[in-house]
Symmetry: C2
Subunit: 294 residues, 2 copies
DNA sequence: CACCATTTGTGAATAATACTCACAAACCCT
DNA sequence: AGGGTTTGTGAGTATTATTCACAAATGGTG
């Protein structure tokens, strides 16, 4: 790389302003001979003297004066640009592009957005909800939030929710007319309340017990896309429902709902915020990580 | 010196423009790992990533885009300034401040000014005539032209005239009524044509023979400040005259004038162009040297 | 005119950095 | 899953920036 260094040009300006190598050296924190060598090197590179000097006086030549006239504003602009970049470290700014699982958007992100916006007024969160696995870099995203199990192992991850545990529940009145299922394989004989995510198909219920894994496409009299409606229908005895233990807890405590197939419902990795590894973390994203992480 | 190098910033711009370390490395003539290290160093210095990259794609971050927006014009300005300076080497421009002995101005410089002005249209010659010894740097001069004997020995000198030789001449008719002088000491007994330089006093005639030096304040019936008038008066027998051998040559050849005290009139150092030593020679001054030197 | 104090300039040595080398890691296509 | 290509990394080397130890230059002073 050809070497026309910002620092040498800046040094030249300083010497010209001070009209002294000695004063300029003090100001720049280097020796006078370092400056002498640097200016000489610059002059030799261009084949034109930039400073006329004796031991008693230093002044720009015509060429030096021309250079100063053009350099000063340009170096000021560069310094301003660099200062602006330095300032970003201390006051996070700019855009963070997130791709977030819809459920995570509502359960993890939404509750904390207000605080984040107040804490970091210069950060713009650009949130895209998407259930599918997204290639972050190709999609132009800085980070994502999804269930841990969907995140590639080479990503940097931060837990942003507890590991949720599913619950299969029904009302006591439902079980008066239907025997409780002993295994997930009994479910096709039951009336189950399906849940639809956006434009995707209905949610298949997944079960694990020890080394066994079962996925069951349930059916029943009702398909909804709202968790509240689903919970209400289950309480009313419409059928069995699949929801988070946390969501079901108050109804289980009150006896409105009864849980079944407990042993087929272990916890699973919750939501994690993730971004590609070995990346200098933008200050804005670091701030988001700090806000969301458990 | 803190290192925000022009070359690293320029490299950053190139990578951002090419959207590829590999293509940028080819363009800049360095290895991809040199660029990788350089950009990493820049990002670490600022604590802010400037480029987002995978092995398949490179794009500026928000911070990087901000930096690019401000850097590009500024670096363009600097490059323009540096190109302008480089251009000076090939097409001399600017002002050359000369201090010149009046006689040298008319005999050495004037005859060549026209050609020089045509050859170097961007050069401005700022000529000050001054007979005294002038401190070049203190007086703000780039160079001077004077007799060699008046130039300090530490100056860089270039001969711009031959060494002139003086001649003492008189007409045959003058010598019919006056015996020819055998030594300069005889001159007070002669009628001599004095010559006045500007506001200075009359010129003292100087002689050297071997190790002897004599200075004679001559006197006579005529004091002039014009060489032509002086020559005419000598031919007319008004008295003895002191002039350059070159000026007297045609009259000596024709017999109108006769030379005396030959052996007391050795050549003396002619005019030299000089400037302070160890100075990067401005291109304009180098051009002047080439034009004037013998 | 000589001396002195201070500044700039220089060559050699040293300290620091830029760059290359020899890989590893990452990524996406087949 | 493998391959081809790109980016990233640590160590070693090449190159340069800077210091050191002076020398040279300058102008003021006595």
């Amino acid at each position: 790389m050809v070497r026309d260094e910002l620092s040498v040009l800046s040094a030249f300006l300083t010497v010209a302003e001070e009209r002294s190598f000695t004063r300029a050296a003090k100001r720049l924190g280097v020796s006078t001979s370092a400056l002498s060598h640097a200016i000489k090197g610059l002059e030799e590179h261009f084949g034109v003297p930039l400073l006329a000097r004796t031991t008693r006086s230093v002044a720009p030549t015509d060429a030096g004066a021309q250079l100063i006239t053009r350099l000063r504003p340009a170096l000021g602009d560069i310094q301003g640009a660099l200062d602006q970049i330095s300032g970003l470290r201390d006051r996070p700014a700019g855009r963070v592009r997130l791709v977030v699982s819809p459920i995570a958007a509502t359960t993890v992100l939404a509750p904390k957005l207000g605080q984040f916006a107040r804490d970091y007024p210069d950060v713009v969160l650009d949130v895209t909800t998407d259930e599918s696995r997204v290639d972050l870099v190709a999609g132009g995203f800085d980070a994502g939030i999804h269930f841990g199990e969907f995140i590639e192992r080479d990503m940097i991850t931060f837990r942003v929710s507890k590991d949720p545990r599913p619950a299969i529940v029904g009302s006591p009145s439902y079980f008066e007319s239907h025997p409780k299922p002993a295994t997930p394989r009994d479910l096709p004989n039951h009336r189950c309340i399906n849940f639809r995510h956006g434009s995707d198909g209905v949610y298949r219920w997944e079960f694990d017990k020890g080394k066994q894994s079962l996925t069951v496409a349930v059916n029943g009299p009702l398909i909804v896309d709202d968790v509240e409606i689903m919970v209400r229908a289950a309480v009313d005895g419409v059928g069995l429902a699949f929801m988070s233990e946390e969501r079901a807890a108050p109804h289980l405590a009150s006896g409105e709902l009864v849980r079944v197939l407990d042993d087929w419902c272990p916890p699973f990795p919750g939501f994690f915020l993730y971004y590609p590894r070995q990346r200098q973390l933008p200050a804005a994203l670091a701030a988001l990580v700090e806000t969301l992480r458990l």
